[in-house]
């Protein structure tokens, strides 16, 4: 089973970030209030932000190690990243967005895998549209598909539902659950909403002001309030 090991420190303005956790199989939730440093952590895993010190590895592949001077650039990490705002390329069609990762890594077309993921996320009728014409929920499903078609080692989801209204959240949650059970790779799921994580997470890493205050099972979500998703 694939294991993501993170042990990093980073000074971000007045916030001192120092976290250590492992993610293996299922979905590991990074749970905490806004400003706890959740997004910075996934940015460091993806290679978009460089830690001051520490190490990040997926199994035997070292992505970052300050002691050994290793810092793999993001384009070589093969980590699927679903951003809060989707970040679909506005000048490309949905199909071209989905195909982008394959084209950039020079892999052969794999129509079967493409069809499978399109079906999984139910985005077949959107393929020829421009991102601008998609609803928020559709946009996030395409963003998930784009990350999956990279054939990533792990998947990072940073508040993928935050920009959606409750109806769209309900619409997309089942797809994410399906994804967790289907993808077979570790998922790191960032959210500050306990109700959402109860549906998706299998492990919880609880953060506060840049530090891991607890890690364990779903019971760590209990003292937080829901937001109508249950």
């Amino acid at each position: 089973m694939t294991v993501l090991a993170v042990d990093v420190e980073k000074q971000l303005g007045t916030l001192r970030l120092a976290v250590r956790f492992k993610a293996e199989g299922g979905a590991t939730a990074l749970f905490g209030a806004s400003g706890a440093g959740k997004t910075s952590i996934v940015n460091m895993i993806a290679g978009l932000l460089t830690p001051d010190r520490g190490a990040i590895a997926i199994d035997d592949t070292v992505l970052f190690d300050s002691a050994r001077g290793i810092n793999m650039p993001p384009y070589r990490r093969r980590i699927g990243y679903v951003f809060q705002e989707g970040r679909l390329f506005p000048h490309l069609s949905v199909r071209q967005n989905l195909d982008y990762g394959r084209r950039m890594s020079g892999r052969h077309r794999n129509p079967k895998e493409f069809e499978r993921i399109v079906a999984l996320l139910d985005i077949g009728r959107l393929l020829d549209r421009r991102p601008r014409l998609l609803s928020g929920g559709e946009r996030q499903r395409v963003a998930v598909g784009r990350a999956l078609l990279l054939e990533p080692r792990i998947l990072l989801l940073d508040e993928p539902l935050a920009s959606l209204d409750v109806a769209h959240k309900r619409e997309i949650l089942p797809y994410l659950v399906l994804l967790r059970d289907d993808a077979g790779i570790p998922i790191v799921y960032v959210s500050h909403t306990a109700a959402e994580l109860r549906r998706i997470a299998t492990t919880v890493v609880r953060l506060d002001a840049g530090l891991v205050v607890a890690s364990g099972g779903l019971e760590l979500l209990d003292d937080a309030n829901g937001d109508g998703l249950d």
């Binding site: 978009l48 384009y75 506005p90 000048h91 950039m104 890594s105 601008r132």
Partner: protein
């Protein structure tokens, strides 16, 4: 209707060739300088910024004169280019293209720089996580998103090059068939008795070309907008 003499046709064709060549050669530099100004911080950036925009505020005659003393056949840069690359600017149409390119350059750089500054850098980060190295990010995300600004820069530079007069005539003079553009030909015709009718014909051509350039730019801008925002 427009019964142009062969000499006048020559001036029109020459103007178009000079403007096209000037714009085509300015474009890669325009994108490179626009990118440097939009995306990087370096020592002396203010100076570079000022130098790029100097031709816009200097009297064109001054720009032409500076080109003459740098790019003339015996001038430092001109002699070097002649000797090692066989490129001669003085009193050649290539010199006119250089003058037009320099004069149009600030107009080209400005919209490109603004377009590059307006791009959401987060899209470039997303491309990087999807396996695109810096060169591919630039080619597949940055350039297409900056396209409306690039089109605007190309059209402005082309229009400026088509109408350039002062720097060109100072640098490479006014030689029929070699450096005599529409503007220079009109100027010559207004200096001789009875040249009004011929000058009038060239004026009409100049107006038609300017209109064509404007319409082309509108069309291109609209196409770019459709690509981004859907029909």
């Amino acid at each position: 209707m427009l019964d142009l003499t062969p000499a006048e046709w020559t001036a029109v064709a020459l103007s178009l060739r000079i403007a096209v060549v000037a714009t085509a050669f300015a474009l890669p530099f325009g994108i490179a300088i626009g990118w440097l100004l939009a995306r990087t911080e370096f020592w002396g950036k203010t100076v570079v910024d000022g130098l790029v925009f100097l031709p816009l505020v200097l009297p064109p005659v001054v720009t032409g004169y500076l080109l003459l003393i740098w790019f003339g056949r015996r001038a430092p840069i001109g002699a070097f280019l002649d000797r090692y690359f066989g490129i001669v600017f003085s009193f050649r149409w290539t010199g006119a293209a250089l003058a037009c390119g320099v004069m149009g350059f600030p107009l080209m750089v400005r919209p490109i720089r603004l377009a590059l500054e307006a791009i959401d850098r987060k899209l470039e980060d997303a491309a990087a996580t999807l396996g695109a190295n810096r060169m591919w990010v630039f080619v597949t995300v940055t350039l297409p998103l900056a396209l409306p600004g690039i089109v605007a820069g190309v059209v402005l530079c082309f229009a400026r090059a088509l109408g350039e007069f002062g720097a060109t005539i100072t640098f490479v003079s006014n030689i029929p068939g070699e450096t005599q553009t529409i503007s220079a030909a009109i100027y010559t015709l207004t200096q001789v008795p009875g040249g009004d009718v011929a000058a009038g014909r060239l004026v009409l051509i100049a107006i038609a070309l300017a209109f064509a350039a404007l319409i082309a730019s509108e069309w291109l801008a609209r196409r770019a907008a459709i690509r981004f925002h859907g029909e």
